[in-house]
């Protein structure tokens, strides 16, 4: 009786170990799969961060360029204030005629 019980419990134990082993192998596969996906996402995130940094630097450069251009515009506008006034005067006068001709 005891012997038969022992005999029947041995394949059961083996079965459990096999099941556990299979589960473990599946879990490793899942772990690998999930890690790969995570790595992809993480790489994408890193690439995005890199892109954001580059974009920020570009924006900073562009802002510097704008500041330089604004300064240049201000300087040249002051230098040519009289000519600009003249241009605006003709523009106004011309607009009056254009409106009348329409």
């Amino acid at each position: 009786m005891i012997q038969s019980k022992c005999k029947s419990s041995t394949p059961m134990k083996k079965l459990i170990i096999y099941i556990l082993l299979i589960c473990l192998i599946i879990s490793f596969a899942l772990l690998y799969f999930e890690y790969t996906r995570y790595s992809e996402v993480n790489n994408r995130y890193i690439a995005l961060q890199d892109e954001i940094n580059k974009s920020s630097n570009k924006l900073r450069d562009i802002s510097d360029d704008i500041a330089k251009l604004k300064l240049e515009e201000e300087t040249i506008s002051n230098e040519k204030k009289f000519q600009i006034d003249q241009y605006q005067k003709w523009q106004r006068q011309n607009q009056i005629l254009k409106d009348l001709i329409k």
Partner: protein, 310 residues
């Protein structure tokens, strides 16, 4: 014998249990890591989403700034070329003036035209006349004389710089002392003034007003004078409305009434005033306001105008 047999069985049992527990623990650890990785992945996704938003905003800002740079560069380029642009718009203005004058002479325009002309300048009152014209933002025509004194240099320059038309009224204006004696005396005086104005203002004019009006050039010289002037591509103009300030100085009210009454039933008026007249100067603001109320627009004269006789 039974003891030695039971020992390996017990040992096997321990190994089996140990292995099972070990496998179970590793499995649980794996599952824990998988769950953690899923959480981290979700977190990264949300960070990616925020980063994409940031990047998208930055790209929009980048685009806006590039647009701003483009506009600023264009503006700077335009400012650098403002003289050319002014010349172009000036040309366009006179083309439009010609078109509109044609419309008005055909009775089509919604507004009538007033050509305000000032003779005999520059004079002491000329800057004050210019102030009034600036105030009302209107352009006029100055029939100028040759005044070599440097005190008028700034006035000549200001007339041109303000956009008014510069025209020839002869150098000497010597109606009673030789101007109309011969064809040459007149034409030479006109050409002398043309040269003088070019030197003083940088403007070459081919619009003339005869001192005293074209009727002052009497036969037999009149025909020859006009023929010679045509050879030099000159056109001339008289006036059809006057403030009456040529002789005795009128009152401000009289100057005003002369112009307003003279403008009645006329679609195109050429108003004569003199830079030397204080009455005309004082009447000018009211004249401008009344004529504007009566649907006149003020234009500077131009060679292509139908009012210029060629």
């Amino acid at each position: 014998m039974a003891k030695t047999k039971s020992n390996p069985k017990g040992f096997n049992k321990i190994i089996v249990y140990g292995l099972s527990v070990f496998l179970l623990i590793v499995l649980l650890i794996n599952l824990g890591i998988i769950v953690k990785l899923i959480e981290l992945r979700k977190q990264k996704y949300s960070e990616i989403y925020s980063s994409e938003n940031i990047l998208s905003e930055q790209q929009k800002e980048h685009f806006d700034k590039l647009e701003e740079i483009k506009l600023l560069s264009e503006k700077i380029e335009n400012i650098k070329n403002v003289e050319d642009l002014t010349e172009n718009i000036r040309k366009e203005f006179f083309e439009n003036a010609k078109k509109y004058e044609t419309m008005v002479s055909q009775g089509k325009g919604s507004k009538k035209i007033a050509y305000l002309t000032l003779d005999d300048g520059p004079y002491n009152y000329t800057p004050a006349f210019l102030d009034v014209l600036d105030k009302y933002d209107i352009l006029a025509t100055f029939f100028l004389l040759g005044k070599p004194s440097s005190q008028y240099d700034a006035t000549y320059k200001r007339i041109v710089d303000s956009g008014h038309t510069i025209a020839n009224h002869t150098y000497s204006h010597a109606i009673y002392s030789g101007l109309y004696v011969t064809v040459d005396s007149f034409v030479n005086d006109v050409l002398k003034q043309e040269k003088f104005l070019l030197q003083k203002t940088g403007v070459k004019t081919n619009i003339l007003r005869f001192p005293g009006g074209s009727s002052s050039a009497l036969p037999p010289y009149r025909h020859d004078i006009l023929q010679r002037l045509r050879k030099y591509n000159y056109g001339y103009i008289d006036w059809n409305v006057s403030s009456g300030d040529a002789g005795k100085e009128p009152s401000k009210e009289k100057a005003y009434n002369n112009i307003i009454n003279g403008s009645r039933n006329k679609n195109i008026i050429v108003i004569l005033m003199h830079d030397s007249s204080k009455a005309s100067l004082l009447a000018l603001p009211s004249v401008i306001e009344t004529l504007k109320e009566r649907d006149y627009i003020f234009l500077p004269l131009f060679y292509e105008s139908s009012m210029i006789i060629k």
